[in-house]
């Protein structure tokens, strides 16, 4: 089976006056058809940059090496017209803030229709009808009226539904949702997560869900990748990750999450220290300075992802269940 997305030793770095910053440091991952993969990590951990590289959306001064293959075809070295055929049709992205990712001066109908006109060569009139049907499928009430509205006339949750509709127009193989609910209210967030679950079942595409919030990813992802300082530190089946985290960082993150159930604590657990600057630690474990289990080996030798098919951690001394 050809993986839908295959990332191999991807490096993304930015040059800075104080040297090079490795935003993504030798990341390898695979996403198979119809799979939902959650990518979690704190801000600056590189989770978005991996997929910006895949979409050809990195800043101009970024240096990229390694490989990103989409359905077997390399994306990193591909020419612009070829990339443009893939992105927006078979490989699509939903961003955090639907207000800034929709064009403010075009109606929802025009923006949606443009996708199928461009990628599938649909006549405008048919494209608009098709767009209206897609809005209906993502449970936008009064879809016909919405087509004539501008983004500012819609609520945040409605705008995100429009973005989801847009991402689905050309029956994508992979949708990348980057913090799709972070800008939304709790109740709207629950609705959007439900919608993503429903469209996954209906359209059968693979889904990448990027979030800083493990709880958002928990209900949806089959597999979760935890990122820290530009690299993947744990890759496990979702249930396994929550029950038996193997990387100390994952375990700490889980502990830090306040919950609406269970005992109320006197003080919340915290994780002391700060993540290293990207690129600061290249030949040791990047989590070692904050890790209670760190030994001498962790400070000189970088651990690789190892473990079973259901759970791998990049740790010399992983937690055992």
């Amino acid at each position: 089976m050809v993986p839908t997305l295959s990332v191999d030793r991807l490096r993304v770095s930015f040059s800075h006056r104080s040297g090079s910053i490795e935003a993504v440091d030798r990341v390898s991952l695979q996403i198979v058809p119809a799979e939902c993969v959650g990518i979690v990590g704190e801000s600056g951990s590189g989770k978005t940059q991996i997929f910006m590289a895949a979409m050809g959306l990195l800043a101009g001064k970024a240096q990229v090496s390694g490989s990103v293959r989409f359905e077997g075809n390399e994306l990193l070295s591909v020419d612009r017209p070829t990339l443009n055929r893939v992105r927006g049709s078979k490989l699509t992205m939903i961003f955090q803030d639907p207000m800034t990712s929709l064009t403010p001066h075009l109606t929802v109908g025009t923006q949606l229709a443009e996708v199928t006109v461009t990628h599938l060569g649909m006549p405008w009139k048919d494209a608009r009808t098709f767009a209206g049907r897609m809005l209906e499928r993502v449970h936008v009430p009064e879809p016909k009226r919405r087509l004539n509205q501008y983004p500012h006339e819609l609520s945040g949750g409605m705008r995100q539904r429009v973005m989801i509709a847009m991402s689905l127009l050309c029956e994508p193989s992979l949708v990348i949702a980057d913090e799709p609910t972070t800008a939304l209210d709790m109740t709207t967030q629950a609705q959007i997560i439900e919608l993503l679950r429903a469209v996954r079942g209906e359209f059968g595409m693979a889904l990448v869900l990027i979030s800083h919030d493990l709880a958002v990813v928990a209900g949806l992802a089959d597999r979760i990748l935890v990122m820290y300082a530009g690299s993947v530190v744990e890759n496990a089946i979702a249930e396994e990750l929550f029950k038996h985290p193997r990387h100390p960082y994952t375990a700490e993150l889980l502990k830090c999450m306040p919950s609406v159930t269970g005992p109320r604590l006197d003080r919340l657990p915290t994780l002391a220290g700060q993540p290293p600057r990207p690129g600061e630690i290249l030949e040791a474990c990047p989590f070692a300075p904050r890790c209670s289990r760190a030994a001498d080996r962790c400070r000189v030798e970088r651990p690789q992802l190892e473990g079973s098919s259901t759970s791998q951690a990049a740790c010399h001394f992983p937690l055992t269940s």
């Binding site: 704190e42 929550f242 915290t270």
Partner: protein, 321 residues
């Protein structure tokens, strides 16, 4: 509550023709932490600003230590501000980029404690920086040199330097990663133990639960439920509160995803002319909800809810529509 620090009565704020705060009353005791939750647009931040007289309410009273802040002279108001401080949501935007962190934190001292000489001020600033987990050597740096979490601590240090009686925190931890969020929450708990009261505005219910003694739930400019923290989470009465709680994503996949808590979007305030503002989203709606607005009734000691059915035992599971 034995010593009432803040007494808000029938507070109303209009933005032009729009009623944004539609009659809010509550008390806050000395050393108490009160959570204020609700969706965006419910008026949480406007309420905070109205209490501080950063905008002018059209009606009502805000008594702080027995002084009505809405009626007192600017001179008296200024003196009251010493005991009443706020930390804003966006840490970087609320700091002056051209002032060093030390100057920012020292400014309230220059205004309210003009008797202090420069070296005594500097010492106080250094102590405060250490109290919020930064080092006194950082006082010469500018805001852009700090991370979001560090900027938030600087905002707290500025608010705390005068040892206020009440700190209003407006979505203070929303922009922070989990590991830093815990540190800030714990800092607030330390300050509360030293006698400070907190009005903690947040849409993050898990954080509110860990921190608060009591919780206020706001919907479209009104308080719909007021309860001791444990009672609110264990037995929420108002259907909106139940919806909010149901929308919190659960952390273990085994628990399943959050049920869509409250379907639909918040109504437009101008459209509510009579009856309950939540009725269009409420699964328990009765004909009387269309015509008569439910009053805030005490359903258990210290537990108030504005719902016509607040005295019935409603099955929470039937909420999943």
């Amino acid at each position: 509550m034995n010593n009432i620090l803040l007494r808000v009565r029938d507070l109303r704020v209009d933005f032009g023709a729009h009623a944004v705060i539609r009659g809010v009353s509550f008390d806050l005791g000395g050393g108490e932490i009160v959570g204020l939750v609700g969706e965006s647009g419910s008026g949480k931040s406007t309420l905070a600003r109205a209490i501080l007289r950063l905008l002018q309410p059209v009606q009502g009273s805000v008594e702080f230590l027995g002084v009505d802040l809405l009626k007192c002279s600017p001179k008296v108001m200024r003196a009251q501000r010493r005991g009443l401080q706020i930390v804003f949501q966006d840490p970087l935007a609320s700091l002056d980029p051209r002032m060093t962190v030390g100057e920012t934190i020292a400014e309230p001292l220059k205004i309210f404690e003009s008797g202090l000489n420069a070296s005594a001020r500097q010492r106080k600033v250094g102590d405060m920086l250490q109290r919020v987990g930064l080092s006194s050597e950082m006082s010469g740096r500018y805001p852009h040199e700090f991370s979001g979490g560090q900027c938030q601590r600087i905002g707290i240090a500025r608010a705390m330097i005068l040892s206020p009686k009440l700190l209003i925190c407006d979505e203070m931890v929303s922009s922070l990663d989990v590991s830093i969020q815990g540190q800030i929450i714990n800092l607030l708990l330390d300050l509360q133990e030293a006698g400070m009261a907190v009005l903690f505005i947040s849409h993050n219910l898990a954080v509110v639960r860990h921190l608060s003694h009591r919780v206020l739930v706001m919907y479209l400019g009104k308080l719909v439920e007021i309860a001791p923290c444990d009672a609110l989470f264990a037995s929420p009465v108002h259907p909106y509160t139940r919806g909010l709680l149901a929308a919190v994503p659960h952390r273990l996949p085994a628990v399943g995803a959050a049920a869509p808590g409250a379907p639909g979007d918040q109504a437009v305030p101008d459209l509510i002319t009579s009856g309950c503002a939540f009725r269009d989203r409420c699964p328990y709606v009765l004909p009387m909800c269309e015509t008569s607005e439910p009053p805030l009734d005490e359903v258990a000691p210290g537990h108030w809810a504005a719902c016509h059915r607040s005295h019935e035992t409603l099955n929470p599971l039937s909420f999943e529509s």
